[in-house]
Subunit: 444 residues, 2 copies
């Protein structure tokens, strides 16, 4: 197997040091760029570095890139995990200067310029932090146990399991109170994820399941969408928020605005001013906070953990370290750039270009500017809201636009065809193909 | 919610007794038939009871019916779990006399005629045990931890994770010995499952992965198929076994026949006479044993736990209890009926017809006779072996026949189309779409 040692790759992860001598000061011949995170931002950075004279290392704890905007479709049994996720190695296999590493990052030693892994560390000359966000329970991390959020494939299969098991338990129980408890679903947070989840759970209950149960009528399920602010989809124009609310209500969702959750437990939620809501299934779509990357480098961060970055997206005082996507706080025109996929992709593309210019010694690009294409959210069958500049779409045109855009942005023809097929199938039959209760309670 | 209590279903699972009074002796007006297990046998029994004047209850610990013959394709990242599994409720939703219950059965009280669940019990007049088989480690249950078998969806995703992680770990490590350890895959058992797994792991290593790794060459992976007997696929004619062996070897699989595994641990296997084989990934395809159903009813069973049944598939001394599929030992012409899907389906269909005759008071069918259609196993791209009566196919015709038969027997047009699409895609591109490492180590 000695041919493996002559592969010519100098950027060797691991603890051995024999080819990790620091580059000579002043002019690294083959700079080492490390990207942490294979989400939208990290993958875009890697792509923009195609052909650059550098050794690029992309590290992620998973072996796949996940298309997070469609996670709710896995949670609601419309798609399979493999439809919305791609092996990172496969996505970037054409890029000769890139190595992919599946590993957990535990910290960064900015003095030694090394990324710390569980076992060992890797050196970097330039570092891109694209580690994304996780759920924020606003100081109540104990709620995570009873109110899962939706950021990872495992979250989606957990929520799918909890929703489907609730109907199974309802079918088993004898008292009307118990059944009501199992058939009440509370979604906390009225942003796009909350709206999409509420709408799709309503469709599952009203269209996919009714023929399959004998003792309960899934159509009697109560689905509550709880939003602390005055309206759902707060980043949309008020008219589209109103439309979303009406559509959700016509699908049987109770939309509670100006209602704040004060506590969550295994039996339900306490709200202000609506009091206690008993429910077996609670889903958290209310808040996110950045990954702990700010702590790794001791950077200045806002309350949500986002690293304040300079106009070129580098970290103040650490010109070789960049933060992008949900990890970064970049203010433009007095407002932070939103934590959405297009923003992460634009930042990733920018940093990739900047680093390519840096390693080739060419003119760096002008400071980063985010260009907001629009907002979109789907509510259910034939119903979505789209705001693109001055264009506003709703109803069937919005839904068609939303579907086409999402299929288009999926990576790889196989996934596009597979998702399009399953959507068409679900649309025609109103069934859900991926109604599997898998894994056990230990699964994260 | 009071309409739920007037659903008219008398066969109420649960602990409440108010409508579970025993039927008057001599002539039950609406007999209760309980089927345990929603595999091939149980589903076929339920189907054959369509329209029968009985309350049929189908109990399974999962909410889906799994097409076990294609589990190895999930394990080797060609298909998603939802492609080969269907919600039981959906499969049988057209059957008005049927209730589906997702629950764990813990035992049977044959005196009281009740099936015991974790919480509560359900009464039966006729009981069908269709609980299938699990792995048999021949008295070494501790091997299960290091050498998973392939019977459930969770087994398949676990094996997929272990295979993919082995390549990731190999990419990370520094010494040639370590890499060899991670890139050695041992499959124990040369029956159809072992042959199919070995062939598909070889295809993953040689075709799907090579472009994606930088430091290791997946093509150098060693795949060993270890069989204690003199040839692989022992139920096939010797010429087809020889063909399978040649094809496997041409794909790079080391086929070791007449080699017995004497011990398994986290680092490899000990064999007789070949000594120690170091390997990170060990897969068990060597033996099965019946589920513990024989113990529930105190029935006479063989060493593999199968219940010896009478010519009408009932349990000796318990004429209202039937055992079918892998749970049953039925000898015909001096040989036990094999533990394969067609046998389970034929037994299920027979017991369903017999019970329908019994509850309608018509003539019961003649004693059960198993009709063996044939044996088939796939080895890889363009290579399968088929023996149907006097017809023997191999190579591309065998493979095409195998593919068509398997798509045909999948339940539901959605799954047929989805599997056909993914197979076509994998065939043309030689890629594997479902290469996701999901779940964590706690997952069963």
């Amino acid at each position: 197997m000695s041919e493996m040692d002559s592969s010519g790759i100098e950027n060797r992860p691991g603890t051995s040091d024999h080819n990790e001598a620091p580059n000579p000061p002043g002019g690294p011949s083959r700079p080492r760029i490390v990207i942490i995170g294979a989400g939208f931002g990290g993958v875009e950075t890697a792509r923009a570095l195609k052909g650059a004279p550098a050794d690029v290392l992309l590290i992620d704890r998973n072996n796949y890139h996940c298309f997070q905007p469609l996670l709710y479709q896995v949670a609601s049994a419309a798609l399979s995990p493999a439809d919305i996720a791609w092996p990172v190695r496969g996505v970037l296999s054409g890029q000769a200067n890139l190595t992919v590493l599946m590993a957990d990052v535990t910290g960064v030693d900015t003095a030694a310029r090394r990324v710390l892994l569980g076992a060992g560390s890797v050196p970097y000359d330039h570092l891109v932090l694209a580690t994304g966000a996780t759920h924020s329970y606003f100081g109540h991390d104990e709620w995570a146990r009873v109110a899962p959020g939706l950021k990872k494939i495992e979250d989606a299969t957990r929520i799918r399991r909890e929703i489907l098991i609730a109907f199974e338990r309802a079918e088993l129980c004898d008292s009307a109170e118990e059944r009501r408890h199992f058939l009440t679903f509370v979604i906390i947070g009225g942003g796009p994820t909350g709206v999409e989840l509420a709408g799709s759970i309503a469709e599952v209950a009203r269209h996919a399941l009714p023929n399959d149960f004998r003792r309960v009528d899934p159509r009697t399920a109560r689905i509550l969408l709880v939003e602390a602010g005055p309206r759902v989809l707060p980043t949309m124009p008020p008219a589209l928020s109103d439309y979303a609310r009406e559509r959700l209500e016509s699908m049987g969702v109770d939309v509670l605005t100006n209602v704040r959750v004060t506590s969550c437990d295994g039996d339900g939620v306490d709200t202000e001013p609506n009091g206690r809501i008993l429910s077996e299934t609670i889903i958290w779509a209310a808040g996110v906070r950045a990954s702990p990357a700010a702590g790794w480098i001791g950077a200045d961060a806002d309350r949500a953990g986002r690293i304040r970055v300079t106009p070129d997206l580098s970290v103040p005082g650490l010109p070789d370290v960049f933060a992008i996507g949900d990890t970064a706080l970049f203010e433009q025109d007095g407002k932070p750039v939103p934590g959405i996929a297009p923003a992460a992709k634009q930042m990733g593309h920018y940093v990739g270009r900047l680093l390519k210019a840096r390693v080739t010694g060419t003119q760096p690009p002008a400071p980063f500017r985010y260009s907001h294409a629009g907002d979109l959210a789907t509510i259910g069958r034939n119903a979505a809201v789209v705001k693109l500049g001055r264009l506003e779409l709703k109803g069937f045109p919005g839904w068609l636009f939303w579907s086409v855009v999402h299929v288009y942005f999926l990576i790889g023809a196989r996934n596009r065809l597979s998702v399009a097929f399953h959507w068409l199938w679900n649309y025609v039959t109103r069934q859900r193909g991926a109604r599997l209760i898998t894994g056990d309670d230990h699964e994260a």
